[in-house]
Symmetry: C2
Subunit: 194 residues, 2 copies
DNA sequence: ACCTGAACACCGTTCAAGT
DNA sequence: ACCTGAACACCGTTCAAGT
């Protein structure tokens, strides 16, 4: 309510801090609880102070989504066989999504992320596809199918985890196996259509 | 602004009319443009009048999403071979989704609809799966995979339609074919895992 | 039962200050 | 450059009327 600072004083706010706090709030209370005002309150700052560090609420969320993708393990394009690399990359992405269940609906709505990390992951997928002689529009199509499949499956899994509320173990492992098999079918269809 | 009616007079509002107008607004200007207030204005009514016909904005959207599913062609469970019926049902659903591109992101976010039409479609899928000796948790899992796949693919297709902006013909047909092949792979994996 | 008027408790964002 | 105060133009929803 009543601020301890007068107009001139700094609050020590920083862009990474804002993003991290937004992530924290998202993980703790979900999307509806993340408002500019709640975020500002958590940082003990007035709402409009955030606009010195981010452009808008939309770009804030976009940036959070892209940030998380930095956790994905990227295979070495040069030495990894395409099919193996694609399987590993998508499986790692799937794992990262499962580690952030609260964000999955957001990825779904935006059909992926848009920032530099997402861009890089997309480039790696395209490079692996190219090494399997898949390129052009066909490759971009395959990329989008893989993205939708992975996010869609993660949405399914996290939702199942909510409803079943079982101890993390057998059932989650089973679902991950299902992800792998479905992914394998898709990759077969993508890589060997000729 | 200034209403033509005094408190006691009726506006001829009706639940189906409210839902239809919401759909209209959604199709014309998208989700952000659909507010209780814009909807009320279009119906020439004050915002709170809507609450005599709907419970909340959330249930309004849920109902709109379920309504659209009435357009899906449902195969006769008794006489249609399971694999054929599932392929036909999901393909019809896919077609309906493509006919309402503005709603696809909403289905994505909610991972399907929740009302009576969605319930019925789900029951039909489960009945077809049962006739293929798939039941129990495995069947519910398969149902969710099919839902996510179909909505996910529709999201991909509508988005591709936006970016490419090609005349509706060759390319759209190609995408529909891709949907069918992917669906076929999935059904193979679901129906013959033993 | 169905509608209006007025209000409540919020939003995201902008603009003019202050240091 | 970074922050505050105040305000703007919105939201969804509720509550007390009126007929």
């Amino acid at each position: 309510m009543s601020s301890r600072r007068s107009p001139g004083q700094r609050a020590g706010l920083t862009r990474p801090l804002v993003l991290a706090t937004a992530r924290e709030l998202l993980a703790k209370d979900g999307l509806p609880a993340l408002t500019m005002r709640s975020l500002a309150q958590r940082l003990e700052v007035s709402p409009n102070a955030l606009y010195s560090h981010i452009e808008s609420k939309t770009t804030l969320i976009d940036d959070v989504l892209d940030d998380v993708l930095a956790e994905v393990d990227v295979p070495d394009v040069a030495v990894t066989p395409p099919a193996v690399g694609l399987q590993a990359l998508m499986a790692s992405t799937y794992g990262v999504l499962l580690a952030h269940p609260d964000l999955v609906p957001l990825y779904l709505a935006r059909q992926g992320a848009r920032g530099p990390n997402a861009q890089h992951l997309g480039d790696v997928v395209l490079a692996l596809l190219a090494r399997a002689d898949v390129d052009g529009p066909h490759a971009r199509e395959a990329l989008h199918v893989l993205i939708v499949y992975t996010i869609g499956f993660a949405a399914f899994t996290t939702r199942a985890a909510e409803t079943l509320t079982d101890g993390p173990g057998s059932q989650s492992q089973e679902l991950a196996d299902n992800f792998d098999s479905g992914l394998c079918w898709l990759l077969n269809g993508i890589i060997t259509p000729r």
